[in-house]
């Protein structure tokens, strides 16, 4: 499994080729050949918002839904969540938008055929169809679960023509009533999957990890932390992740993620819109206090 986070980034002014409603979301197709050529499922792009007179300085991040390297197009699915995304949902074909990408580490893809379950929550399903295709091309069996609060917030149920699909909604307006994680254990068992991939809200990613872990299934999750730069220079997008050396570090989800092995994420530190620094994290306030205490003891001896 390889990552591409050290590869060249492209900052381009991209033409909007098409923009259309998709349930509660907006499906956008932009022309960005360099990004389309390089991107892999799980990566994202960052769009500048508001045009030349904008008072919104920071870019907005979006999972790449799919790319078409031949035509040079990149597609994203955008929910109207605030002023920045609202501006994006109002873009029409022919307009231009600044796009930066491809960003982040893609979902790791197995080298051997492996049964997998893919889960997308809300617009988190956007990258899953492309990922499914890449996995299928490798000979993997793929099951797909899409969930959302309501049918309107379900993205792409119609795009899953070549993948066994399960749909859940919280209100039962489509598919099974319940959470996207509800059918997961059964699917893992019946398919014999040893890999799961998930993209969606943090509580969902945590739940997916919790279901997978006791079953020995590796869950790759794409997290969504608030990001100022998207390229690894600002340190705003961190969450505590256990490294290969067993040490927890506040890791940047934009360059070390957004895809992580769910088992390595310290979910207990994440709650109620906040992420705390675990005491045993490298350089945590608690560990530094202990260090200073030890140093003081040492010098007083």
């Amino acid at each position: 499994m390889t990552t591409t986070s050290g590869d060249r980034l492209h900052s381009v002014r991209a033409e909007v080729i098409a923009a259309a409603a998709a349930g509660d979301y907006r499906h956008l197709v932009v022309l960005a050949p360099e990004i389309a050529a390089a991107a892999r499922p799980g990566q994202f792009v960052a769009l500048a918002v508001g045009g030349e007179t904008s008072g919104l300085l920071l870019r907005r991040s979006f999972s790449i839904h799919r790319v078409e390297p031949d035509t040079g197009t990149v597609e994203i699915v955008v929910a109207d969540a605030g002023p920045g995304t609202r501006w994006i949902t109002r873009l029409v074909a022919g307009e231009a938008v600044e796009v930066l990408g491809p960003l982040g580490v893609p979902f790791p893809v197995p080298d051997e055929p492996t049964p997998c379950v893919l889960l997308g929550g809300g617009y988190g399903s956007a990258p899953m169809f492309w990922l499914a295709k890449v996995l299928q091309d490798k000979g993997c069996h793929v099951d797909l679960v899409l969930g959302a609060a309501t049918q309107d917030r379900l993205f792409g149920a119609d795009l899953a023509d070549r993948v066994p699909l399960t749909v859940t909604t919280d209100d039962g307006s489509a598919g099974i009533t319940g959470r996207v994680t509800d059918p997961l254990s059964d699917l893992l068992r019946t398919s014999g999957a040893t890999l799961a991939y998930a993209c969606g809200p943090m509580p969902m990613l945590r739940a997916v990890t919790q279901v997978c872990r006791p079953l020995g299934v590796t869950a790759y999750v794409a997290v969504e932390e608030s990001m100022a730069c998207g390229i690894g220079v600002c340190m705003t997008c961190v969450l505590p992740v256990v490294g290969a050396d067993g040490v927890t570090r506040m890791s940047r989800s934009c360059v070390e993620g957004p895809t992580f092995d769910g088992a390595r994420v310290r979910w207990e530190a994440i709650a109620d819109g906040r992420v705390a620094v675990p005491d045993d994290c490298l350089g945590s306030p608690a560990s530094l206090a202990a260090l200073n205490h030890a140093a003081a003891q040492g010098s007083s001896r």
Partner: protein, 318 residues
């Protein structure tokens, strides 16, 4: 006519162009190098580094604000030893000119960090100057920011100066959150700083009106971006004016705060800055440091000005 963009930061430090990165807005170089050659930047200013590895604060660490943002990172970083072992050699390998920003929770820690830095094998080849980020909290003094107090500011400089060869100028980085910034400037310069960087962020708070609690995990954050540019220009103006009037020692000023375009860089320069850093604008446009330098050159060219050095502080003459 090609415009001569070189700038002189004193003590033999000549930069090919006056546009630098701002500390903490460009990490330690590798990330931006994925977009463009960082050796072409006037100088690369690294993220403030302390003695030990730092996890930084919990999140949210940022809030977008009108034409700006608040950040509350908590100086997350590898610590000076890892910095010297990994980051400095890398900066050297790509031929970057580095200005290393150092920080500490005590004046002794600043000195310790400086010592470790100066001892690094790559120091002479790579480090053009040191930026002493005294706009960070002094744990011994109730967490008061050093640069809010002339005595604390001077103390840091006094301990750092002996650790650093004179050929590597020390720039003290000041906060605008003071009643009179010329008092702090004077304290830092009199204690041995050979230049000043102005300004660090303004203290701000954002409340999450949904959850009815402070938005940032660390409560307060630093306000940056174009929103604060008029405050940066004012701080540079006041200190440069005090230097011209002979009220404080004369020294080069590196301007920072809200620079997004070549015109912004020119504005800080006209107020008295001999070089200009680009910070938050990088988050909007990661190519900003290179673009700003290009735009600045074009602007001077269009105005028929042959040398960047000719316009430093000239708004004081008109």
């Amino acid at each position: 006519m090609t415009v001569d963009l070189t700038t002189d930061l004193g003590h033999g430090v000549l930069l090919p162009n006056p546009v630098l990165t701002a500390s903490g807005c460009a990490a330690n170089g590798k990330e931006l190098h994925r977009l463009e050659d960082i050796a072409k930047i006037g100088a690369f200013v690294t993220k403030s580094v302390k003695r030990d590895p730092q996890s930084g604060r919990g999140t949210p660490r940022m809030a977008e604000t009108p034409s700006g943002m608040l950040n509350s990172i908590g100086l997350q970083g590898p610590g000076i030893h890892a910095f010297v072992e990994h980051d400095l050699p890398w900066l050297r390998s790509v031929g970057a000119r580095a200005i290393v920003s150092i920080a500490g929770e005590s004046s002794a820690e600043f000195a310790e960090v400086a010592r470790a830095l100066v001892a690094a094998p790559d120091f002479d080849a790579t480090v053009a100057a040191i930026e002493v980020n005294i706009s960070c909290p002094n744990v011994a003094n109730r967490g008061l920011v050093y640069a809010c107090d002339p005595a604390s500011s001077a103390e840091v400089l006094r301990l750092v100066v002996p650790e650093v060869p004179r050929s590597t100028p020390l720039f003290a980085k000041l906060t605008p959150d003071v009643t009179d910034i010329t008092v702090i400037a004077e304290a830092a310069l009199s204690a041995g700083a050979q230049g000043l960087t102005m300004i660090n962020t303004l203290l701000g708070i954002r409340i999450d009106t949904e959850r009815m609690r402070p938005h940032l995990f660390g409560l307060t954050g630093g306000l940056s971006g174009p929103a604060i540019r008029p405050v940066a220009v004012r701080a540079i103006w006041q200190v440069y004016a005090a230097m011209r009037a002979g009220r404080i020692p004369t020294a080069p000023i590196i301007g920072v705060g809200g620079v997004r375009t070549g015109e912004d860089a020119l504005e800080l320069t006209l107020a008295g800055a001999s070089a200009v850093q680009v910070g938050t604008a990088i988050f909007n446009d990661p190519l900003a440091p290179w673009r700003v330098a290009r735009e600045l050159g074009d602007l001077l060219h269009a105005r028929g000005i042959p040398r960047y050095a000719d316009v430093v502080g000239v708004a004081h003459d008109h």
